[in-house]
Subunit: 457 residues, 2 copies
């Protein structure tokens, strides 16, 4: 491993240049005019993986953008890692807010700025460079590796699920490895082992058959906006507990061990409040902020609208009102069951004089990887070696639907070993990646394949 790490260290400048080349291809998946660039980026991935040393490399046509697939399976007896990443990027808009051009990556103050630098080209490249080093020094990888790069992650991964189903046998592996998540903080290498699930609902409240003059009818006819407000207000109590009957029934309780782990993390609540510019944090009584966002379910109104919302005043009694409400779920809540409980609650609290329709958008179960999974333990050792600091196990409040697909379709656990920082502007202008983390990320990846092979083999 020392020779591998030395090789990586000796090529720091070349690695940054390669990242610049990767970023220079504007693979904006949502923009139809960029379809050619997205295809060109897939070809670039294909050629790079072939040059690195993968034996089988293919660009797979889909109904949308191509999937790049590669494999090297000559580590007999060693475990197989399926690496997943994406080569597409978010649009650069609003382009005028960038300090330097989004597709001409620029280094300033130890960071490289450019669209895709942290999400996800820089993190994908870290693994390429780790594989390249292993191949260059040893002529082989420590374990079997399959590489799956998609070009539709930023637009919903529509082609991925069919690909997983169709190529299920080819994709057989021991674990999924993803580097597309943030570190907890600078200097704190992190493994994310849990994600919340989602149940997203829409409500439509209907009153009279047309908008009415609020002077002529006000006081005699139910107001659907008022009814909606009553329904929405009823969803939480004074302690910010969700009041839907049965909502918490399947919630896996927080363990003392988890509580202790989270409490040890360098979380600065005052800084968090300062960044959000709020005077106080509000959440379920009896839980800390990290607990509230990681292991406790939440309910939020994502949008609502009714009546006249322009400037000025209009004396209308609206005919309808609607809202979008989503719930973040934790193990072992079932999104379909929660959708039913939500609908039953709404029906129960709907005031007279209006009718309500409740419809689900999409749902996802929460995801939880076993901390003692050999790959999680290997990743922990790899991060410690590369970053010189004890890694932490974290969870995330959001969802990464792809982890559920990997679990349900391939039956595989995902290891989330990300090298980005929380403030590197993924999806925003001046997206960037810390170069120290980039170089340490390459080393961590190199260690990972070695550690995983050693730990299991």
């Amino acid at each position: 491993m020392n020779a591998v790490i030395d090789h990586i260290e000796s090529r720091r400048e070349a690695h940054v240049e390669d990242l610049k080349t990767f970023i220079a291809i504007p693979s904006v998946s949502t923009n139809p005019e960029r379809a050619g660039d997205v295809a060109r980026c897939a070809d670039h991935c294909h050629d790079s993986l072939r040059d690195v040393g993968f034996t089988t490399v293919e660009v797979v046509k889909t109904g949308g953008h191509p999937i790049v697939y590669a494999e090297w399976l000559e580590a007999e007896g060693a475990p197989t890692v399926l690496f997943y990443g994406h080569y597409d990027v978010q649009p650069p808009d609003p382009i005028e807010l960038w300090t330097s051009p989004p597709f001409e990556a620029t280094v300033r103050d130890g960071k490289i700025y450019g669209r895709g630098s942290v999400d996800d080209k820089g993190q994908v490249l870290a693994h390429w460079k780790a594989w390249e080093a292993h191949f260059a020094v040893n002529g082989r990888l420590p374990c079997n590796v399959k590489v799956l790069l998609e070009g539709e992650e930023e637009i919903g991964s529509e082609s991925l699920e069919p690909f997983l189903v169709e190529r299920k046998t080819d994709l057989a592996a021991d674990v999924i490895l993803i580097s597309d998540s943030p570190m907890f903080a600078r200097g704190v290498p992190s493994l994310c082992y849990g994600l919340r699930g989602l149940c997203y609902m829409e409500l439509h409240v209907r009153g009279a058959n047309t908008d009415l003059h609020s002077g002529s009818f006000g006081g005699a006819v139910a107001n659907p906006a008022q009814a909606l407000a009553k329904i929405l207000a009823s969803l939480k109590d004074e302690d910010e507990r969700i009041t839907i009957d049965g909502f918490y029934d399947r919630v896996r309780p927080l363990t003392d061990e988890e509580r202790d782990e989270f409490a040890r993390l360098p979380f600065d609540e005052e800084e968090y409040k300062r960044q959000l510019d709020v005077s106080e944090l509000v959440g379920e009584a009896g839980f800390s902020t990290l607990e509230r966002t990681w292991v406790r379910p939440a309910l939020d109104i994502n949008g609502m609208i009714s009546g006249f919302t322009g400037d000025g005043a209009k004396t209308v009694l609206p005919a309808e009102a609607s809202a979008k409400v989503s719930m973040r779920l934790v193990p072992d809540q079932d999104p379909e069951e929660i959708a039913r409980l939500f609908a039953a609650h709404v029906e129960r609290v709907t005031p007279p004089g209006v009718s309500v329709k409740v419809a689900p958008h999409h749902g996802a179960r929460a995801y939880l990887a076993p901390l003692d999974h050999p790959a999680n333990q290997a990743a922990k050792r790899a991060l410690a070696a590369a970053f010189g600091a004890e890694p932490v196990f974290t969870r995330e409040g959001g969802s990464i639907p792809i982890t559920n697909s990997f679990q349900s379709t391939l039956g595989l656990t995902s290891i989330l070993m990300g090298f980005g920082l929380p403030d590197e502007n993924a999806h925003a202008p001046d997206e960037n990646l810390d170069l120290d983390n980039f170089h340490r990320g390459i080393a961590a990846a190199a260690h990972f394949y070695h550690e995983y092979a050693s730990g299991v083999g």
Copy 2:
């Protein structure tokens, strides 16, 4: 009077033709391209009033559209009526929904269809034709008459208040007469003696300084849409009583006499529900629908918005939420005091973690004319004579701000003697006026000036 009525009866066809001519001028006040037509319509009013027999007729330039003013003051010892009406009309849009062209008035099934037919050209013309008949038969009017026609009623009457202040002495009169309100129902001649006031508020709720990802932050940060829902839901209790402290303190109680009067009106609650397509009516416990909309205050959400309201799902925790809330007031509520009480309530119930701004739009006091005012009694006799049915005294849930201006600036009571029906599509396509009511309206107007002169003189 018999000769006057005979004169009116003999000229029915000519009256309809004159109404067609009036409607043919597209005096759409809100459309700058129609300013020339509005001015032409003012000139038409001027010429018609001069031809009728008024001694002084002028077109008064304002910052907006002209005001037409006329007077005939030769009825020595008789009272003076200041007639108010408007010659401007609503836009005809959506024009494709009209059965016949909006500015080519067309008679079908005893109704005349055209923009302005009921609001307010037909009702203004009824008075012209009454004056014309008095002048033609007797060479004089029974009482002194001042005529004030404005061209900005549909766009807020901005030029009227300054005109009232400036010409206060010229406008001195005993009473204001307006024909711009609906009859209670077909065959039920009506005098509206009360209007509700208004207190219109806007609320802005602010959470964090930016929209947040509801996955990452949901459960830990206050959601302004949820806070707004709590605030709005708190404004009424289960009995639909408004919960704002002190809100009902000045509300003038319903008298037994009023309750009996309203109960006698031919109000069909089942038909009302059927037209609105609602399964039940919802309002303050202990009051009937007419009481709820006429003599009890009301509170309605007129609009609200927060977060993502497009199609589909977006997992956003919004940074802000806002709502418009208006309260219809009754005697003796004070809009400024109600605005203060509202703001105090909002402040009291605002949950932690958000800030709220409350700002008033416009306000108006409720209006109430004395039933025993000689002009109301004269109007009652006039309607009975012209319609052959006992008139009813009604109130309106809406506001007519001009009645407050007449009260506050000129110190005068307004008599609201309208000849329209509730379903004649004022402000909508296929606006129309029942021709039987039009002709009876002319006769009622003729009777009114006679009755008022007799009753007082």
